[in-house]
Amino acid sequence: MSAESISNTGAARARKVDLRVIGPLVALVVLILIGVMLNPNFLSYSNVTNVLARSAFIGIIAIGMTFVITAGGLDLSVGSMAAFVAGLMIMAMNWLSVSMGDSVVVILLGIVLALGAGLAAGFINGILITRAGIEAFILTLGTMGIYRSLITWLADGGTLSLGSGLSSLYSPVYYGGILGLSWPIIVFALLAILGEIVMRHTAFGRHCAAIGSNEKVARYSSVHVQRVKLATYVLLGLSVGIAVVMYVPRLGSASATTGLLWELEAIAAVIIGGTLLKGGFGRVWGTVVGVLILSLISNLLNLTDFVSPYLNGAIQGVVIILAVVLQRNSGPAR
């Protein structure tokens, strides 16, 4: 929908097609065209739904990350946080099922716990950054290590697995859905729309951008700077919790390798989408496009023998840089 409106404006002002706006979309379309040429199954229903459902975890987190980055912050801890929350959730559900059996109530309690734990973890990051005045980069680098160690410790170095009864009861949350769309895709889409509305049309979204572009001016304009910044980290923590709620039913397990490098993928998706890394401007629909670009690259590489698998990382790097160059090319001219 946003894609349509953008191309309409583009057509209306044919002279002023702004690559900075449509850059990520161009990259996405090019990738899709390459995919169609390389493999006839690329646009098959199962492949498209697979890619969308797989994007949902990073996507949901990246939506939260868009707000943090727009307000001039950063959070490196989300990948480890996701692993830690997933571990907590699995342990709690296994523990509850001993006394309560494999029931829906146990799953609901697990979901509440995951959301609460995400919220709390985000709050801890936020309060330390805003009240103790620690640089976001360093603080979240620290919590990243802490959560990663905690999940390794909780899992005793191995893998935490959900009991098989609970696992089969919970798995429809990832594999099931309505109208041929699985739940992760639906949740991702709803959150994206909600995020876009909050970013564009609410005072909170504008405060984020104001703080990101100039914190002092924002303060003089009576924006509650600390409170808004704290809220962005809490929101991000909550989105990590939501991502975990969708992640755990997939394989029913968490280990020290869960969520590895998710933080960098989420940040890359946000920046590819056109949000400024230094803050001050953010767009949620761009983030969604960024996430889809990242998942499509790995999907395409798996669907072909186009390049040696050793070079997968290089291809990803090139596409990320190109997608960003496309939208920044008007910068140096001034």
Binding site: N39, N41, F42, S44, S46, N47, N50, R54, T152, A155, D156, G157, G158, T159, S161, Y175, R250, L251, S253, S255, A256, T257, T258, L260, S298, N299, L301, N302, L303, D305, P309, Y310, N312
Partner: protein
């Protein structure tokens, strides 16, 4: 009185223990994936057991998350704990070779586990799994049990020497069997990556007869993807390492998972026990000890199932 005694013992321990007892340093990678987790579990268990059984033995266990940290750990062990023997699973071969050589030159007994050093003849004892046999065992099973022209997809691990040896063994066993390898991509020994990779294999190939997921963690991801696509029953999945969930499936005659190939993390116990023997001079143990990969089938699965193990 009691307190003084403890202090005195502690002091004696601090200054004189190298003279009284043998200290064995154990340096292994941190538990970052299932197999390494089991490695840590077996290392801790063996150390506990040996310390209880043998008061003269003292152990220092460090787990590392990178080669440079492992070098510092080993240097610290030599400098501050004055170790008599070192059991090390090198994080990477090249960067650890020179530091371990220095330790060996200082007269310390060196046992290298699983990942060989870049230069031969440094260690007193080498204990390892057999990566070539790991791949070959799976390949041989495919060659013997799949029809001519069967189609196989392969999930490789993290690009490394270990992975290359396994794949080379696998390919050697398939040679001349008429089995077609459709694709080989890296699943990085990770469940999530393997899940996505398997989904893509399933979209890409309408017909797959067997999956070699060269690790049980990847097999878990592959199985979930196959089930999601509703293609269970079309293909078999052979993993590796001997994760207990997989062994249980084999034991219960799961038709999708007929066999598994071992690569026992308990080899660290073999290494520590043999080193303790070697250091005490009780029996000659220097040389090489290669633990072959075995095929777990429904008939012998019971012997490979360890209820308490984390893996």
């Amino acid at each position: 009185m009691h307190k003084t005694l403890i202090t005195a013992t502690a002091l004696t321990g601090l200054f004189a223990s190298p003279l009284l007892a043998e200290t064995i340093g154990v340096s292994i990678p941190a538990a970052t994936h299932g197999w390494a987790g089991a490695l840590n579990y077996h290392a801790e268990r063996t150390i506990e057991r040996l310390e209880a059984a043998n008061p003269d033995l003292d152990f220092v266990l460090t787990t590392t998350s990178g080669p440079s940290q492992q070098v510092s750990d080993i240097e610290d062990m030599v400098a501050t704990r004055n170790i008599d023997a070192l059991v090390v699973l090198p994080f990477e071969s090249e960067p650890l070779t020179a530091p371990i050589q220095r330790v060996a030159d200082g007269g310390v007994w060196v046992t290298v586990v699983d990942r060989g050093l870049a230069q031969e003849g440094i260690e007193d004892l080498y204990v390892a799994g057999d990566n070539d046999s790991f791949g070959r065992t799976a390949g041989t099973y495919f060659a013997e049990n799949l029809d001519d022209g069967a189609k196989v997809v392969v999930m490789r691990g993290i690009a490394s020497e270990v992975d290359n040896e396994r794949v080379a063994g696998f390919e050697a066993a398939l040679e001349g069997s008429g089995i077609e390898v459709l694709a080989m991509d890296h699943g990085n020994w990770n469940r999530d990556t393997a899940f996505g990779l398997m989904q893509d294999y399933l979209s890409r190939f309408p017909e797959i007869d067997a999956v070699w997921a060269a690790d049980d963690d990847m097999a878990v991801g592959a199985l979930a993807a196959i089930e999601q696509a509703g293609r269970t029953g079309e293909m078999i999945v052979v993993g590796g390492a001997g994760m207990k969930e997989m062994v249980a499936r084999i034991r219960d005659n799961d038709t999708t998972v007929p066999v598994d190939v071992t690569y026992p993390p308990a080899m660290i116990s073999t290494a520590i026990e043999m080193t303790a023997l070697g250091v005490s001079g009780a029996a000659p143990v220097s040389g090489e000890f290669i633990i072959a990969s075995e095929l777990i089938t429904a008939d012998n699965a019971e012997d490979f199932y360890f209820e308490d193990s984390p893996y």
